[in-house]
Symmetry: C3
Subunit: 158 residues, 3 copies
Amino acid sequence: SGEMAKVTNLLSNEAFQAYATYATIILLKMMLMSLITAYFRITRKAFVNPEDTASFGKGESAKKYLRTDPDVERARRGHLNDLENIVPFFGIGLLYALSGPELSTALLHFRIFTGARILHSLAYLIPLPQPSRGLSWAVGYAVTISMAYKVLKTSFYP
Amino acid sequence: SGEMAKVTNLLSNEAFQAYATYATIILLKMMLMSLITAYFRITRKAFVNPEDTASFGKGESAKKYLRTDPDVERARRGHLNDLENIVPFFGIGLLYALSGPELSTALLHFRIFTGARILHSLAYLIPLPQPSRGLSWAVGYAVTISMAYKVLKTSFYP
Amino acid sequence: SGEMAKVTNLLSNEAFQAYATYATIILLKMMLMSLITAYFRITRKAFVNPEDTASFGKGESAKKYLRTDPDVERARRGHLNDLENIVPFFGIGLLYALSGPELSTALLHFRIFTGARILHSLAYLIPLPQPSRGLSWAVGYAVTISMAYKVLKTSFYP
């Protein structure tokens, strides 16, 4: 229908298409942190909910698995840092993609952010010595600020 | 005006309308977790900020309410799990709704995700024995992956 | 090109432009919480990852900086509360901006939410006595509910 065409037009714009691609990739990467946390919880036998340890038996034998583990906590911190940084990227990036950026400039922003956040996760999980994690965090942060500047310059309506 | 018409056209597309409905419902459900946490904090008298216990008096009499409570922590974990899963659904779902899906397929995705996350919250809060919580989490996760696949198939621009 | 024009049309709608402005401002405010947490971590010398304390020397001399600090934890709680509340505002607000609201009504919603969340951060960080933080939280929450009502009234497609 005609209305369907209008909606899909948004995704026929190349800068918006690039946004859709990288936003999806980086949200999938964030979702991967759930699996990594689950992997560490299961292999390290470190759970937080009593109902999760029921399969290990009852009483004290199961209770000992209600504990924190450094690898689990590390994965959880990486996941929370993703939320804190990927949410602003998704939101500001969406508005940026709608603000009519040059395709090449937009691709540069999306690619650098995506690369920086993948490096951030590696730096957090391996872990790499600082300032690897700090720098990859700062690069993603700066990309988001740059997009925010473009959005506000294009459509400031306070 | 003509421009207003163009904007509202997005919401006259049925798949996008369905997205708007379910995205709003599931974000409201996530917001409900704040009220549930507050309810447990107040009924269990378990606070984290000293200024929140000022009404219980001064000094030691108030300090004893600065403590953690299993029900409060459970609600907080459910809320964080919502953030980790509903944010990707919102973001990938938005791009999916713009990618021109069949209305019936889109409705299927949105309804299953919304149902799964409501079940997840119930399984977390009651709590239900595993694998209730694990399965409801996995169903929501799989729906989001399926939408991501459609987005990348429709508009891959790396 | 014509397609670019269609995309940028979204940002030529005044209510959507207002949304873009306030959504960007409040996401930038949320990002500021990362810097505030980092500031407290560095000035209070309170870190969580061993690799972050390597510059303080090796062994026990560095280990003592792996600790929690009340100011760091307070900033982190403020940041998490932002995520819990600004994510629904961003999502529901986007759909609300697309639902064809009156410009003046939309501006009222966006401005009150933004003001309330800035007050919430101040109330959390200073900290101000209650009910400052509670009230500013409730105002932002109510604004989001009001926008959700408009979205569901405009485009309910269950």
